[in-house]
């Protein structure tokens, strides 16, 4: 957006401070195409000309941003997702998803790597994100914000909820300790019982070809998820790829849809 930069009004005319001088340089002006956001016009431009803030409209209804209305839970969930992305990338520098090194890499992290808080931040951030996503959904329900025209955004939200849980679940395996593999074993054992598609699921034994069972421990959905009959090396690699690439990419795309829809559906809900 082409705008004419305005010189910021300084308190004492004739004695521009250091900050004011910096703001007057060509470099600064090339980045921020508006003056200091203390006039209506510049405040509008601050939002409009910034790709990140541009998620927001320029003006919002006061009822929509009241902390006691939204609890800022959606925003906090998104922030926690960003924290997970940053700490997750740092963890990826040190962690190799193979059975012989995964556990040792995690141990290294806690013992020898500087800024060893990354794993803690990542784990507690993940737990916190699960909590805030539930509370966000609770808020949206209690304010009836899923009612028309926001029905579809609620559906997008439910998928985001599922993705959040799956992100957390796939990450749970990566430390490759007893806690990890047995929690994932218990969780993925459920897939064995999927109707028709798990080898212990209702009806699976009816699917036969020339008397051979089609759905066995070596061909059911659990096998597809784990890449084997139990939680082993293949499962570790699969969960790593799902956790670090596949699910986050889908989640980011859906979040973009979610935020876009909040605006297109008329901003944060309010009484008619």
């Amino acid at each position: 957006m082409a705008t004419v930069p305005q010189t910021p009004p300084t308190k004492e005319p004739g004695k521009p401070g250091l900050l004011a001088k910096v703001r007057d340089t060509q470099v600064w002006k090339s980045i921020f195409r508006h003056g200091y956001p203390d006039t209506q016009r510049n405040r509008a431009l601050a939002v409009l000309s910034n790709v990140f803030l541009h998620l927001h409209p320029v003006r919002v209804r006061k009822s929509g941003i009241a902390l006691s209305f939204t609890w800022c839970m959606g925003g906090v969930t998104f922030f926690l997702f960003l924290v997970e992305a940053v700490t997750g990338i740092l963890l990826m520098f040190y962690y190799r998803p193979v059975a012989y090194s995964a556990y040792n890499d995690i141990q290294e992290l806690r013992e020898t790597i500087p800024l060893g808080l990354m794993r803690e931040l990542h784990r507690w951030g993940a737990h916190a994100m699960v909590l805030t996503v539930w509370l966000h959904m609770f808020r949206v329900f209690m304010t009836g914000s899923y009612k028309p025209p926001r029905e579809f955004n609620w559906v997008v939200g439910v998928v985001l909820l599922l993705l959040t849980l799956l992100l957390s679940f796939t990450g749970y395996l990566l430390p490759w300790d007893q806690l990890a593999i047995w929690a994932i074993t218990v969780g993925s054992n459920m897939a064995r019982a999927t109707p028709l598609m798990g080898h212990e699921g209702p009806g699976a034994s009816l699917l036969t070809l020339d008397g051979e069972h089609l759905v066995t421990a070596g061909s059911d959905v659990r096998f597809a998820l784990l890449g084997g009959r139990f939680v082993g090396e293949n499962a570790l690699l699969r969960f790593y790829v799902l956790h670090c690439v596949f699910i986050p990419v889908i989640a980011v795309m859906l979040m973009a849809v979610h935020f876009w829809r909040v605006r297109k559906d008329g901003g944060i809900s309010g009484p008619l």
Partner: protein, 364 residues
């Protein structure tokens, strides 16, 4: 003081924590809260309730077993969840009470009074976001400094820990495994939860209560949602995390998880009750005859259930909704009701399965 703790508080809490007491008790508490929400949410009363619960938590921490269980690193979020949920339940019901009282005086809700004003995103909203961001970061950093992420022994496929627990957010489903087989508790119920949640905006055709807190105008929808979320999700997670030890046996909040404790299992199927206990004869060998009583009961539940619902609890809804929407609501409700029914069956007559067809892994 100590005797009070040992001889009154501990036995009472251990009794209340038993699943067959805790689930009905928390359901009653929820119903009462929703019925008397205007009184319960008055700041003084709500603060008292909160302080009493927090006090119980603090006092209980004098017990080493309780403290160990609560402070296990991965269990911390559940304690946060419980208190966070209570706080936000209070906040939303309090706002609902204020708005509902205003509506009775013919005034618009709080949100409508604020709505007319519009503000600039910069600085008003950006400031709020910044403050939230700083607060959340601070909490997270403190959490990370004071509680280390757990790391147990290296993974070993040969050493099965007892109990083996799923991650904490799935423990409600794992707790349902006490009452149902994996295909029902681990596959069907989660699928229905997701589908059911997605269906909410399309089956709730009540135009009122959009964009502001209210309870009076949406009593049915909010009651069902809170039952699902609080009782069947959060309370079950709490039981699964804190009260289930070795072999998924129940242990009170102050008990040590004794790995050798075995509860005698003497659960019984409907078919056995019918053929052996009532008719005093052997079990028929063909599964479709053997399971006929159970199949009839389940069939009646799914077919007559919607009719009964239409005449009773869902009478108003039946009048307002078209047949497709009503059927979706009725079916989802029946599956939700199937959980407490099976639980009651277990607690009252040691019911194991209504339908037991191991030939095809169809056990309900």
């Amino acid at each position: 003081m100590n005797t009070l703790f040992e001889y009154i508080l501990k036995p009472v809490m251990t009794f209340v924590a038993k699943p067959h007491i805790l689930l009905p008790a928390s359901s009653v508490a929820l119903v009462l809260t929703l019925k008397y929400y205007r009184t319960v949410t008055k700041p003084k009363i709500a603060a008292t309730i909160g302080l009493v619960l927090a006090g119980l938590l603090v006092v209980s921490c004098f017990d080493p077993n309780f403290k160990k269980n609560i402070l296990k690193p991965d269990n911390v979020p559940i304690v946060l969840l419980l208190f966070g949920l209570l706080f936000f339940l209070w906040l939303s019901l309090r706002r609902a009470a204020i708005n509902d009282e205003a509506a009775e005086r013919g005034e618009p809700p709080l949100e409508a009074r604020m709505k007319r004003e519009s503000v600039l995103v910069w600085p008003d909203l950006v400031m709020i976001e910044l403050i939230c961001l700083v607060l959340v970061s601070a909490v997270l950093v403190f959490w990370a400094i004071f509680i280390r992420a757990p790391l147990e022994e290296p993974a070993s496929a040969a050493l099965t820990p007892n109990p083996s627990k799923a991650p904490w957010y799935f423990l409600g489903l794992q707790e349902m495994l006490v009452y149902f087989d994996p295909w029902y508790a681990g596959v069907l119920l989660p699928t229905l939860i997701i589908v059911g949640l997605m269906a909410i905006p399309y089956v709730d055709t009540n135009p009122k209560g959009s964009g502001y807190y209210t309870l009076k105008e949406r009593k049915f929808a909010i009651t069902v949602y809170l039952f699902g979320f609080i009782i069947f999700w959060v309370v079950l997670i709490t039981i699964g995390t804190f009260l289930r030890g070795a072999n998924w046996n129940f242990f009170g909040p102050y008990d040590k998880w004794d790995p050798h404790f075995q509860q005698p299992l003497k659960n019984i199927n409907i078919s056995e009750i019918f053929w052996v206990k009532m008719l005093k004869q052997g079990m028929p060998s063909e599964w479709y005859i053997r399971e006929l009583p159970g199949l009839l009961m389940a069939g009646a539940f799914m077919l007559l259930g919607p009719l009964i619902l239409a005449k009773t609890v869902l009478k108003d809804l039946f009048r307002k909704l078209d047949i497709v929407r009503f059927s979706v609501v009725a079916v989802l409700m029946l599956f939700m009701i199937s959980m407490p029914i099976k639980m009651l069956g277990r607690w009252l007559i040691n019911l194991k399965y209504v339908i037991y067809i191991p030939e095809y892994f169809i056990n309900i």
